[in-house]
Symmetry: C2
DNA sequence: TTAGAATCAGTTGTATACAATTAAATTATA
DNA sequence: TATAATTTAATTGTATACAACTGATTCTAA
């Protein structure tokens, strides 16, 4: 087995991507727990803080998640009072998700968590910008 | 809400990290399925192809996974005949995981899968090296 | 205009992740 | 050396992810 063997864990790009993603989320978890949020619920709220309301399909496109993940997730968030769900009037296949006052109330706490996490990141501004660009290049989205 | 609001999904670094990791693993999944492997089982095998044998603790350190994930995972891999597990003679708290001939037999197929996936990555060599370096910088490991 | 195709959210089944706890074994120390 | 502290893997409980499928609704084209 040579040092440049592509099947060595240390020669693979997908592994640090996988490990790093989990490590960062593990960092968020105990902080978000104080707000009764998981990481996935947090990213749902970020879309809703921006949009106010959004249907499940659009939410899935924004988050790269399907209804198999979102349906039970949103059900739980509704139960906790962070969001409400209602069928669209025009097209009853569509479910519209909206943030509640309680959900909006978490925004300032989330800002604090984000800045705490950001200050832990051992990258300078330029490195962070580069990482951001490369990740979105793989994701295949300019935005 | 201003464009540089840190709580906008598009201004966060952790979100593309999370989404990108899942996207790449989603790419691997149907290919690995042909070998009766999941992505996590695949990375376990990569360690074993390199080491032959390794205990659960070390495996967890290499993969950033704990026994809560590894124990049931290894149990399933043993059932499928890819690995064997045995208690250490010297310290019976320790479980040593070893790859079987059947597990080693997957290696050449895995090489093909890796090269297929690598050729899909829309990054040039230098970009891939940069991404690799930044991810390991966050993971806090030189290797 | 109406049958078939497509869309949308939800459900089902499987496989992680991970915090917290447990149980067994080993190590350290009073 | 006997006991407390530590280590190691397994277990428990909760929350995703996601492929495959389902059921209801809407669209579309002959």
């Amino acid at each position: 087995m040579s040092d440049d063997d592509p099947l060595l864990l240390r020669n693979q790009l997908c592994f640090p991507l996988y490990a790093c993603s989990r490590q960062v989320i593990r960092g968020y978890t105990p902080l978000l727990e104080k707000l009764d949020l998981t990481y996935t619920q947090y990213v749902v709220l970020m879309v809703l803080w921006e949009e106010g309301s959004v249907n499940v399909k659009t939410l899935g496109e924004r988050l790269f998640l399907d209804s198999g993940t979102l349906s039970p997730l949103l059900k739980g968030m509704e139960k906790k009072g962070f969001i409400v769900r209602e069928r669209s009037e025009e097209d009853s296949r569509v479910v519209i998700v909206s943030v509640t006052d309680k959900g909006n109330g978490l925004r300032s706490d989330a800002e604090k968590i984000h800045s705490d996490m950001a200050s832990c990141l051992p990258l300078d501004k330029e490195e962070a910008a580069t990482l951001y660009r490369l990740l979105y290049k793989i994701l295949g989205r300019s935005l």
